[in-house]
Symmetry: C2
Subunit: 346 residues, 2 copies
């Protein structure tokens, strides 16, 4: 790499000192109109760009946000990251993006190196493996701003931007029941992860409200990816219990179960109704899931980033607040008519 031109380079050819150059470039009132113009012109000619690393070191602000997502190649998280980007752009922050791949150790390592890189704050969605909260307690002690999104750990003193998982699950399952579902299986997420726990509670609530008895043999617990859905369905099928519908904890789980379903009995596809959290990103075109809870990924990303920036600027205090984003129950091809206004505007 070629050597970049520095304040000193400009200073020398102008027989001034780097301090004056620094001031001139930042329109400091100290500097006279004419030298300011002269300086800026030369800076331009010499292709000067401030070294932001050096600036960070003096200002102890890096204008950088660290992000940890469990997965990136998944519709929902990709949209969240898109939202984060939009707000970051607006306020002139850059994003250090890391992916935990649902791995607790990787998550911890990434957080540590982001902190070592002096990010001004962190945005994290917890991996499905994470059980040890030490690293987060340390972040809290260090008073490093952090906002959770989608998957959070409660009672650690951090704000979280999430959807109302329990409520949305209850509503979704009730809608299925009103549309004729009688025996609804649940491919559930781990209980120790917020979304797994809450969605399952919503499922139970819906059954109770509709006077249907909760049957544990209709529930299979697992992770949040396609593999879990695939094996979850196989497990379910092997139990020999009857069901006419499935509530999948995430879209990937629904997708995995659908693939398993094809193998077990292709006819099921038309006869088993499926509800999932999240969609494929190809709205209304995919026949599965028949019903889904539309999660506003981009809005979650935006909101979480705005909140984090407020904490960074000391406008908002970190606490255990949960900020809920609205979701929508969608019946494929019905209340989401495919038309121009639903284009993703890309």
């Amino acid at each position: 790499m070629k050597k970049k031109t520095t304040l000193n380079d400009i200073a020398k050819t102008l027989k001034l000192t780097k301090v004056s150059i620094s001031k001139a470039l930042r329109d400091h009132p100290d500097i006279s109109e004419q030298t300011r113009i002269k300086v800026k012109q030369l800076a331009q000619e010499m292709g000067y760009r401030p070294n932001l690393i050096a600036r960070s070191l003096t200002s102890s602000k890096s204008k950088t946000i660290g992000v940890v997502v469990p997965k990136i190649a998944h519709n929902f998280f990709a949209h969240v990251v898109g939202g984060i980007q939009k707000i970051a752009d607006k306020y002139d922050y850059e994003i250090l993006l890391t992916v935990s791949d649902e791995n607790e150790e990787l998550e911890k390592q990434h957080i540590e190196s982001l902190v070592a890189m002096q990010v001004d704050g962190l945005l994290v969605s917890v991996s499905m493996e994470t059980k040890n909260t030490e690293i987060y307690q340390w972040i809290r002690e260090m008073q490093i701003p952090l906002v959770f999104f989608d998957r959070y750990i409660p009672d650690l003193g951090f704000n979280s931007v999430i959807i109302n998982d329990k409520e949305a699950a209850r509503n979704g399952v009730e809608e299925m029941i009103m549309r004729g579902s009688k025996k609804i299986a649940h491919l559930a997420g781990y209980e120790h992860i917020s979304i797994g726990k809450e969605r399952r509670l919503g499922y139970k609530d819906a059954l109770e409200k509709q006077g249907i008895e909760y049957d544990p043999s209709l529930v299979v617990e697992g992770g949040f990816g396609e593999n879990s859905g695939y094996h979850g369905f196989k497990e379910l099928a092997s139990r020999g219990v009857e069901f006419d519908s499935i509530f999948a904890v995430t879209f990937p789980v629904g997708l995995g179960s659908y693939i398993a379903m094809r193998e077990v009995d292709a006819n099921m596809i038309d006869n088993i109704a499926m509800l999932a959290f999240g969609d494929s990103g190809v709205r209304g075109i995919l026949p599965y899931p028949r019903y889904y809870v539309d999660q506003p990924g981009m809005d979650i990303g935006k909101k979480a980033t705005e909140l984090l920036l407020k904490e960074i600027n000391g406008v908002v205090e970190p606490e255990n607040k949960l900020v809920y984003m609205d979701t929508q129950f969608v019946e494929t091809g019905k209340n989401f008519p495919v038309s121009e206004k639903n284009l993703l505007m890309t």
Copy 2:
């Protein structure tokens, strides 16, 4: 934010100097066994983490890679970013991710600020608006390592990791013809973007090879997003020309055209065969596109990153080399049987 402990903090409580601490922590042979142990223990207790910003300033290596993608909430790019991450993790680099949103000006701004942040190298996929190449020439002059992926600008002296767009398009269109397509419309991308130009050339080649006359009224030029597909189809339909098949330059274009198709005549859906570059990420389940060119997003990301790291380490010279990644022609539900081994392993 609480003040982090520094080398000096450790030095003081140990009545040593920061230099010795620095050496001790990095296992420099200068330091005696016992003080090394003492230092490390105290560092641990005091929760010391090196300030990577400071280290960057002295070492003039930031261990950071800047990435510019046109879109992030799109299956293909999300997979590419996933691949970039994997390799970055492996070699202990962090990723500064930016999104140009297909906007030339934003792209330029992001590149400038990434350079100002002293990234060790850049990975970029050019926005569909980009016509001015000045910023890239400057990058070249500054000898900052840069590798293009998917969408590149030729003859600027950078290596690019791409698919063989022309070849894959030719092959795909020929496959359609062999399956009975006779009049294939093309929703094409802009000519000034590599993938737009090459895919169109492939389309023409296929027609020629199969003895079908090229008909300009079957080609609509536009961008690479859903909107372009939507309006492209409407334009096509308005021309009153006959066609039995569509070749869409990207998956989003195919999706947009499909939505428009539904509006114009829902029956078309079963009668018009569609070929697109890229898929939905929900392999084999979506009825559209009937045919697609499977683009190995993750592999492209990995390969581009590996190449970039080699340039950063001076092992590979930047030149105008094009590295091609393999693609595969897929007929939905046919040569991509839905089964466990096709799970995305998530």
